[in-house]
Symmetry: C2
């Protein structure tokens, strides 16, 4: 059975030595995040994830959720108790503003706990995770009354939250939604329609569930410009905060899925349910994107979390399992065989996993920090710069991060050979669970289009130009350093591929926008490679500084330098071929008529 | 629910226009394979797969196999009846030599049926598939008496067959096996030990099951040089061919797996079971490799079969599902949205699937033809050339083919968005089923090492030099053709990457063999790309000839040319980055101590 150990050492290295978050101690929230406090929080959070959540992961997969005849849903054995412990320990409150009863920690710290909880038990982590998203939307767009009425109980996870977007006939294209919201005359609306794929839609973990639902008012435009957002509570909430009548909504069924069995994925039926508009009429999509963007960063973290736990177990197996001999001669002649670790191809899979997961961890936390800075940095310019950066990187973190997360989970399973295919070893669950991260919160093709179709062009390309400049500047600085110079040159080259691809889009997108669409996925991957390259440059640089100072964990720091080298030699070369694919343009993709795909 | 339609048109194009198998009509077996006969066989076989086997695929997944208290195993609903129809129609006999009651069709034709049956229902196809492997080993290494006694009933699938290699502590490293074979004094042996992961190990489809078991005789060397192969029948067979006593072997349990639920993967316990040695003592591994090599080609076909059925369904879904608008403006303004087909990123996934599956189909059939030619070509030189080629290509077909098969199945699932993750849509089953093909019959890392560690060096590199020469020659010929010249130049370039990588291995493998091991997986993929490139050159060339002649299916042939272009522009560029990864060598892979992989 797999185990999980939170990577606290690596996290602290990133927070303290790479991001130097102590620089921001003067900013709101960061005062709560002193180095000692953060270390204590992560140690304790990591322990909780390892000891309480991880042991329930396989149980959740095996049992799944159960919907009863009355529409109620029971979570797997142990989830309710673990959730109570999670709430009792105050984990949901970590990043909640102090005015709503939270601990007001910066977002970058909550990102760490998002990683740990998802690595330990993704299906479980989704219950509080969706609630956080719903809170974010209410805080951003809700009225003061709505905030006061719903947020404190959601913040403590006394109540849960959900996002209701998808309908049977529409997912990506929300302009097609049919759910209606008819004014009741008292300021509330009657919500009617069917929503599908509603994660945590119904369960037994919380007293109430606050559904955030996209719907159309009677005279709304027939497009995405006609969507409004509504709070639709499972139990109506009285003015004194007590629970009122059961609202007319219900879970019609739960889906049988490839993975994340422990999370109830519900078909939700709204039959004239009472709902309250959040923000302005017909501006629901903008409000939903507040949740969406936070959720997309979260899904990138989730993909990396699954990669990391799968990687950890593959390392343990490779060390434990003896099979064959080193190509250079028996490593342990007294044993009947060497460990899997002697085999270069096993090393390849493990080093890829290490290079990507640690790089992604740094990227996700850098991204999380930008979310903080976009809100609380001292100057408008700094806030704008941070907002540009996280807008640009969100689709990369989500799309590249989850593509790689699935690949790494698959490779970690591969290290187990035949045993990896057997349920009881637990590795195949990671693959099945990781698979959803490439799909939900906008499939990765949608992320790629968001990147190249929206984020590149916004404000005359300001964000991507700023990104190029950061990479160039740090490469230039590192090239003077004997240890870093080779890495910096290679990163500069990869950045050059990214620039060239960007230029190619500018030159060929005008004549045919499909030229951009055709290269979107490859572009997202090049940007992922360059972003991780930047993170590895920073990690290598920080490691070298600490090594030179003679302090710190030498073994850990030397591993950082070796892994950076692996990243440069074994991951970065992909950027070149991805660029050449982009330069193939759209013609060969669009040439066939649909009926030509399969020969009659 | 997914459907399956056998790609008969494409298969016939490959057999007739690309491989021109009518050239071999003078060779044994090929006389049975006239164009008319082959077309009739494939049409009928395809119909059987679509109508009988495919509808049972989801049922098999859902129900799985059931082991009863007495050790007997029941296959899923419908399997027994479908198997009876399969036997009744004579499908198992297709490639069996006429002297054993078969139809004596060339191997290349049986490869086609292997693809179709696996695409329709992999778990089902494995029952007769394993039997074919067992027959191959007995035919190659068994005594005449053994052949007469076992082969005819196995050939008709009245009896089944299995391969018993793996034990709990050893899979890849068969030198470690512990199963013992003690002489009974009457020429038979008493076999004792536990074998795991035995596909089709116990079931209710056949009257008897002939297990082929690797075991060690009492004084055998303690390595792979001390392994012998034994026939161990479930029911002993009397001299008159009737069934005798139940042998002392049993299915101890069946594994719960990620996929292929419809096939019983058994723990087999041998408790002094009566067995009969096949071939010479201590030469069992060589005999097993006869099965293995056929099985590896078969697994490559299987990976491609799963890719194809997943692709077919993704195409249908992309045409059916409407979401969003073309980037170039509404394609069907009268509809509320365009089909998924308008989106370049959906096209990318579908075109990749088309380019790889059709290319792999050609490669598998070219490989199957080499198996035939290695046995029946007229001259020793031709037989040797064919044997060299299939030895070289087998790990590529297995390793590259199944890596890509899984990727394509995953992308096909991606086309479905959220629905792809839901069991009832059936796409996630293809991914789970495809996953095993990367693991069994030698994990893909083992394939890569077989390629670079054995196949490249054999006979002074004769096989790979011959392969280079074929590619160079056909590229040179095609470069004079205006339609093919760009493709040929690109293929020549990819072949150049392969040659450079080969040279790099020669130069750096001597100083450290890990330099070869570290690049093995990338090398296997470059060779896969070049091999498929060669197939696409041949397909494009054949298509162009037919188009110029004004005959044939224009739509189909034009699609071949367009897909070849896609392959050149969108797949071939990977060869360059793979070569650069190889040239990184082993240092960065081997640098870390095992304890440095996870920070303490």
């Amino acid at each position: 059975m797999p185990t999980y150990k939170a990577p606290v050492t690596d996290t602290l290295f990133i927070l303290n030595d790479v991001l130097s978050i102590d620089r921001y101690a003067n900013l709101p929230g960061f005062a709560n995040a002193s180095a000692d406090m953060v270390e204590a929080v992560l140690e304790e959070g990591g322990r909780f994830c390892s000891e309480v959540l991880a042991p329930l992961n396989a149980i959740g997969d095996k049992e799944g959720c159960t919907r009863h005849a009355d529409g109620s849903v029971t979570t797997p054995t142990g989830f309710k108790d673990a959730f109570a412990q999670y709430v009792e320990a105050g984990w949901p409150l970590l990043g909640i503003p102090e005015e709503f009863g939270g601990q007001g920690m910066p977002h970058v710290i909550t990102c760490v706990m998002e990683e740990y909880t998802n690595a330990a038990n993704q299906a479980f982590a989704m219950y509080p995770g969706l609630t956080q998203g719903a809170i974010a939307a209410i805080l951003a767009k809700g009225s003061d009354e709505q905030k006061a009425k719903y947020v404190p109980n959601m913040a403590s996870c006394k109540w849960g939250g959900t996002m209701n977007l998808t309908e049977p006939h529409c997912g990506t294209d929300l302009g097609l939604i049919r759910t209606r919201a008819v004014p009741n005359g008292d300021g509330s609306y009657a919500i009617s329609g069917t929503k599908i794929f509603i994660s945590s839609g119904e369960h037994d973990l919380t007293e109430n569930i606050i559904h955030l639902v996209l719907a159309k008012t009677p005279d709304a435009p027939d497009s995405v410009k006609g969507i409004s957002l509504f709070i639709v509570p499972k139990f109506l909430v009285n003015d004194d905060g007590s629970l009122g009548a059961r609202n007319s909504l219900s879970c019609g069924s739960i889906e049988h899925k490839m993975g994340i069995h422990g999370n109830a994925t519900c078909v939700m039926n709204y039959d004239g349910a009472t709902g309250y508009m959040v923000g302005e009429e017909n501006k629901g999509l903008a409000a939903m994107f507040i949740m969406m963007n936070a959720a997309r960063l979260g899904v990138g973290i989730q993909g990396n979390a699954l990669a990391d736990v799968a990687f950890q177990n593959a390392v343990a197996y490779a060390q434990d399992r003896r099979q064959g001999r080193a190509l250079t001669g028996p490593a342990e002649p007294e044993q009947k065989a060497d460990t899997l670790f002697v085999h270069p191809d096993v090393r390849r899979m493990l080093m890829e996993a290490k290079a990507i997961t640690e790089g992604m961890r740094a990227l996700c936390l850098w991204g999380g920090l930008q979310v903080d800075l976009s809100h609380v940095a001292e100057t408008e310019e700094e806030r704008q710069t941070a907002d540009d950066l996280i807008s640009l990187l969100t689709p990369v973190i989500k799309g590249y991060g989850t593509d790689k997360g699935y690949e790494i989970a698959t490779n970690a399973q591969q290290v187990y050979g035949g045993h990896g295919y057997i349920e009881e070893w637990g590795m195949e669950q990671f693959v099945r669970d990781a698979r959803i991260t490439m799909i939900y919160e906008g499939a990765n093709g949608v992320q790629a289009m968001d990147l190249v179709g929206r984020k590149l062009a916004q404000n005359g390309g300001r964000a991507v130009q700023a990104f190029f400049a950061i990479v160039d500047k740090e490469c230039a600085a590192a090239k003077g350093d004997a240890v870093l110079t080779d890495f910096a040159s290679r990163l500069e080259k990869a950045n050059g591929e990214l620039k060239a691809a960007t230029m190619w889009f500018m030159q060929h997108g005008m004549t045919n926008p499909n030229n951009v669409g055709a290269g979107a996925h490859s572009y997202m991957h090049i940007m992922g490679i360059v972003s991780l390259g930047l993170m590895w440059l920073r990690m290598a640089s920080a490691a070298q500084v600490k090594l030179a100072a003679g302090g710190g964990n030498t073994s850990f720091l030397e591993a950082k330098l070796a892994t950076a080298r692996f990243f440069a030699e074994r991951v970065m070369p992909e950027a070149g071929s991805l660029r050449r694919k982009i330069e193939g343009g759209c013609d060969s993709l669009m040439a066939l008529r649909p009926d030509q795909f399969i020969a009659a």
